[in-house]
């Protein structure tokens, strides 16, 4: 018997041992050998190798529980739409929009540079991304499935492109942590399964959620103005430049602009995760996702004089990613068992209503 080329054992090694058990490894090997024989080769082609190794790795991930069921992706998408849209509305109102006649004269001299770099009535190059979020919310509410995913991807692209655009056009951009958070939420909205359309009542619950989160954020904003001198906070709209970058004496620092409220958001998400852990395990990945998205707000919110803030941000994010992996494993096991039970029920129902053998196409009802 001729010895097999080493490529075959390497390819089989891509698969987990459990998958190869019960002769499946030998079966796959036979298929690969047949394909090579048919093509007149002694070893698999490069495309065959790529195809098999991708499938093998996917099987490994699946057996490790690293898959996201459709139901979880739908919930992540819904939460992302609510948070992203609310954040976009909030940022346009509190951080971007210039109210003529109110902005001038309320900022210290070192902020004048920002005021004279406006893009019309707006402050930064991120405005198109905020507008896309509002379109995405509209698409979600009217049930436009395909536009929903495309708009989410456009929002992510605009957000990731914002730093480069700011450099090219010599305009301002929001802090990196805020952009990272919006990008994560955009990805969350994009992974929502296109085939699943939430019912109309649930869409209106989403709209209510956007209003509630926006109101909460504006409430936080008003609360955060309590320590700012009256000259800067005569109106929460007039303090627009200080939303992204808070003045501290002669310096601008960004670690006080959003870090405080964001920290409370993260803590609130953690408490919520504990509650949900007890009551609804299927929602754990969603809560963990929100935890990561909000944690991103802390990234980049640091200054050279406070390097510990950067370490805190990294630690928070690592902890969040650890939690999300743990939660995925737990939720996948739970959802997998539940969907299997549902599927067995459907199968029995269809089986009970099968037509007599030899239907329209002569297909037998049994094997």
């Amino acid at each position: 018997m001729t010895e097999l080329p080493r490529t075959y054992p390497v390819l089989l090694g891509c698969y987990p041992r459990r998958w190869r058990a019960n002769g499946r490894g030998d079966e796959l090997l036979a298929v690969l050998l047949d394909a090579a024989d048919a093509a007149g080769r002694s070893r698999p082609s490069a495309l065959d190798c790529l195809d098999v190794s991708v499938h093998g790795v996917a099987e490994r991930l699946r057996l490790m529980g690293i898959v996201v069921p459709d139901g979880v992706r739908l919930r992540i998408g819904q939460v992302s739409v609510v948070l992203g849209s609310a954040l976009a509305i909030f940022l346009v109102l509190c951080g971007e929009l210039r109210v003529p006649g109110l902005s001038d004269g309320t900022s210290p001299n070192h902020l004048d540079a920002f005021l004279h770099r406006d893009l019309g009535p707006f402050l930064t190059v991120e405005v198109p991304a905020y507008a896309t979020w509002l379109l995405l919310l509209t698409a979600y509410l009217v049930g436009a499935r395909r536009a929903r995913r495309e708009l989410a991807l456009i929002a992510v692209g605009l957000t990731l492109f914002a730093p480069m655009l700011a450099v090219l056009t010599h305009h301002q951009r929001p802090p990196g942590g805020l952009l990272a958070s919006l990008a994560v939420l955009g990805v969350g909205a994009a992974v929502m399964p296109a085939a699943m359309v939430p019912t109309t009542p649930r869409r209106w619950v989403t709209a209510g959620g956007v209003l509630a989160v926006t109101a909460t954020l504006i409430g936080w904003r008003l609360w955060s103005l309590r320590d700012i001198p009256p000259a800067y906070s005569r109106s929460w709209l007039t303090s627009r430049p200080m939303f992204y970058w808070n003045p501290n004496g002669d310096h601008l620092q960004i670690n006080r602009a959003l870090a405080g409220p964001a920290t409370w958001l993260v803590i609130a998400a953690g408490v919520l995760a504990l509650v949900v852990w007890v009551r609804r395990p299927a929602w754990l990945p969603v809560v963990a996702f929100v935890f990561v998205a909000v944690s991103c707000l802390r990234l980049g919110t640091t200054t050279f004089s406070a390097p510990h803030a950067q370490r805190d941000a990294v630690a928070w994010t690592c902890a969040a990613f650890g939690l999300i992996v743990l939660n995925y494993v737990v939720a996948t096991r739970y959802l997998g068992a539940r969907s299997h039970r549902r599927w067995v029920g459907q199968r029995d129902l269809i089986g009970a209503h099968l037509r007599t053998p030899g239907g329209e196409f002569g297909v037998s009802a049994g094997r």
Binding site: L28, W343, G366
Partner: protein, 77 residues
Amino acid sequence: MSSDRVTMRAGTLYTALDRLVAEGLVTDVGTEIVDGRLRRNYDLTAMGAEVLEAEIRRMRLNATQAASRLRARASES
């Protein structure tokens, strides 16, 4: 089966097979040795036959509509 119009690579084939087995549309009916190589045979389940029948009906309807539109276009010109 497809008269060589479709060539499915092994990884793609097993992705589809695993999904079909998981959905209860096909089932494993045993193995055999042919020319010193292991073969596993799969067969349609009753539910798989139902789904296939529905899919054929849908494709046939699409083809009928496309053909009627083509005929209408030809008669206009």
